[in-house]
Point group: C2
Chain length 77, copies 2
C-alpha cells in the first residue's frame, strides 16, 4: 500500500525557504508568482490489509515522528 | 491559480534522509514500512489566464530553478 504524506508549515509560520525560492524566481523573471511555500512529501510503502488501515498507521507516524505539531500540519493522500 | 510541484530524487539515487526516517520509524515499532522516500512539495500561487498556462510556467520554474535535473525528477499537479 502506498501512502503519500504532505508536511507543511502551518499558516502564519514564516516559511523562510519558500520566501527565498520566491525571491529567486522573481529574479529569474517569474513575476507572476504571488505566493510560494515549500514543504516535505514523504512517500511510504507499507504493508497493511486495507487502505484505511494504511492511512491510520501513516497518521500515527505523522503524530509520532514525521510532523512537528507545533510548527507543521500534515495531510495524508 | 494554485500549482503543486513535487520534487523527488530519481529512482536509483540514494535517499539518505528517507533511509534515516525509515530507520527511525522501525525503531518506533512501525515495522510494516517497506520503503520510504522524502521529497519536496512546492505550492505556488501564480497569476495565469488558464490552468494549462500556469502548468507550463511551473514546468519552466522547475527546469530553471526548482529541480536539479541530474538528481531529481518532478511532477506538477
Amino acid at each position: 500500500m502506498r501512502v503519500r504524506v504532505l508536511v507543511r508549515l502551518k499558516p502564519g509560520i514564516l516559511d523562510v525557504q519558500g520566501a527565498a525560492v520566491k525571491r529567486a524566481l522573481m529574479g529569474l523573471g517569474f513575476t507572476e508568482v504571488a505566493d510560494l511555500r515549500v514543504g516535505k512529501v514523504i512517500e511510504v510503502e507499507l504493508d497493511a490489509p486495507t487502505a484505511a488501515q494504511a492511512r491510520a498507521r501513516a497518521d500515527e507516524m505523522c503524530r509520532r515522528l514525521l510532523a512537528n505539531p507545533v510548527l507543521e500540519e500534515y495531510t495524508i493522500e
